[in-house]
Amino acid sequence: MELADILIVLGRVLAVFVLLMVLTLLNVWLERKVVAWMQSRIGPDRAGPFGILQTLADGLKLFFKEGITPQKAELGMYILAPFLAAIPAFLTFMVVPWGETVTIAGRQIPLQGAELNVGILFILAMSSMAVYAVVLAGWSSGSKYPLLGGVRATAQAISYEAALGLAMVSVVVFSSNQGDGVGTLSLSQIVERQAGTLSNTFPELPGFIGWLPNWNLFAQFGAFIVFFIAAVAETNRAPFDLVEAEQELVGGFHTEYSGIRFAMFFLAEYINIFSMSAIGATLFLGGWQGNTFDGRVWPWISAILPTIYFLLKSYLIVFLFFWLRATLPRLRYDQLMQLGWKRLIPGALVWLAITAVASGLYQFGLPGDA
């Protein structure tokens, strides 16, 4: 491996890191602003133009605050937990392609942290890792509210992880229709298979439907609904935020955290929101696919458009997160479990079965037809 290759890999990783940090700063502000507008308020408007530097100010404040350690804290775990939250959050996004492969000085550079052929498995693994951070933070704080929050978080994450995985598997099974009859776990492959219009996947469709973009959303809308609900629950967002229910658990697992350690949990939460939205956009909305107007505009615009499409699609789902937060009241614990185990998981299983049978019939025809 040459030095240039190493530098390119480092550059890609750094780009993802910077992208996530900047977008998190933006997302926290955007959420506060959107929720404020939905509540007929003005929202943060003091720091910088339109208050856009508010998060930066908050972050700086947290950075300089004293990190208080409770007397009964299990020190090692207590210090480790915020890192366990932040690192998987960054890693999850590493496998998401955020732009078309670009060619610079004869080198093919995929705009993706890491090209992984089992990307979906990696995402599921990393989002499960985040649970450890929450439960360890709750337990090591040596205090009752964090412990309760941590226990709730574990139960919630385990319940919804299953539905999330099943929804993703449906997409993997469906992607076999778009390729050579074999599904793919690689996110960049899934994006590439969503190129063009819907008639690429189903040539038989009449023109006016076949004209739609070739997004998995249209054939996999059931999986998308399950995925979105599970993603909201997985990131502990309203209406599934009883993990950190302020009214009853103070702050949940991060009650005893302050200063930069608290900031890392906060950072992880918002990175997870964006990662989940980006994964949703990648799996269901065609990722960076879109009309790049090749040859009709300047080449640099064509090169930058896929990234813009990717961000737009991701922010569409991020906006849904904010919208739900501003609208829905929190679920009770039994309602949460009921929704997870009695509705989402059976629903996702049925959808997976339908997808598998329909894909089989579509590709191989009725049994005995041959």
Partner: protein, 204 residues
């Protein structure tokens, strides 16, 4: 299915508010208009000739449910009277930390000496500053009320000269015959006011 319909209904409500103007204002820079009868900080009035209206009768202190007013009356000096009556209030203190801004003192005052203004920002860093003495409450001889911190960039100097609504009420004696009849002296910052529309006119 009913639940999903309810969720969509809720999303529609929040979604429609996204495009509406906010109901809040950028407070220290912008103010919401205050109602005419706003109960703000008190002011001790003077007659147009510069005489103090307060006669030191302590009816305000008696009416005060929060017991925040302390008045001491004494005889007017014969050669240099402070008020047109026999006596005047030589000590007048209001503890703003206890005041509930009910304006019962304003109603109790027989000479309209104490009225209320529109100033409501009275935070202080010590409890002692919460007690307003006669120097701070009394209007200047020209009828204007000095602001406590006029150099503050957010201070609205007009607030203290916005006269109390109570003295503008129609039919002050409660009798319908007095509707539309001006029954009071001019107060701080305003020589005289037109009467508010009477209840009979409003209901017609």
């Amino acid at each position: 299915m009913g639940l999903i319909r309810e969720i969509i209904k809720g999303l529609r409500v929040t979604g429609s508010h996204l495009f509406e103007d906010p109901v809040t204002v950028k407070y220290p820079q912008e103010f919401r208009p205050k109602p005419q009868r706003f109960h703000g900080r008190h002011v001790l009035n003077r007659y147009p000739d510069g005489m103090e209206k307060c006669i030191g009768c302590e009816l305000c202190a008696g009416a005060c449910p929060a017991r925040c007013i302390y008045v001491r009356g004494t005889d007017n000096p014969i050669d240099e009277p402070v008020s047109p009556g026999e006596r005047f209030g030589f000590v007048y203190e209001i503890n703003m930390l206890r005041c509930i801004f009910c304006a019962l003192c304003v109603e109790a005052c027989p000479t309209e000496a104490i009225t209320m203004t529109h100033l409501f920002e009275m935070s202080s860093t010590t409890r002692q500053d919460g007690i307003y003495t006669k120097d701070e409450l009394l209007m200047a001889a020209d009828g204007s009320v000095p602001h406590m911190f006029p150099e503050d960039e957010f201070a609205d100097l007009g607030e203290l000269n916005a006269a109390d609504g109570w003295v503008r009420a129609t039919a002050p004696s409660g009798a319908a015959a007095y509707e539309g009849v001006q029954m009071w002296q001019g107060t701080a910052g305003s020589a005289s006011w037109e009467p508010e529309p009477s209840q009979t006119e409003r209901d017609a």
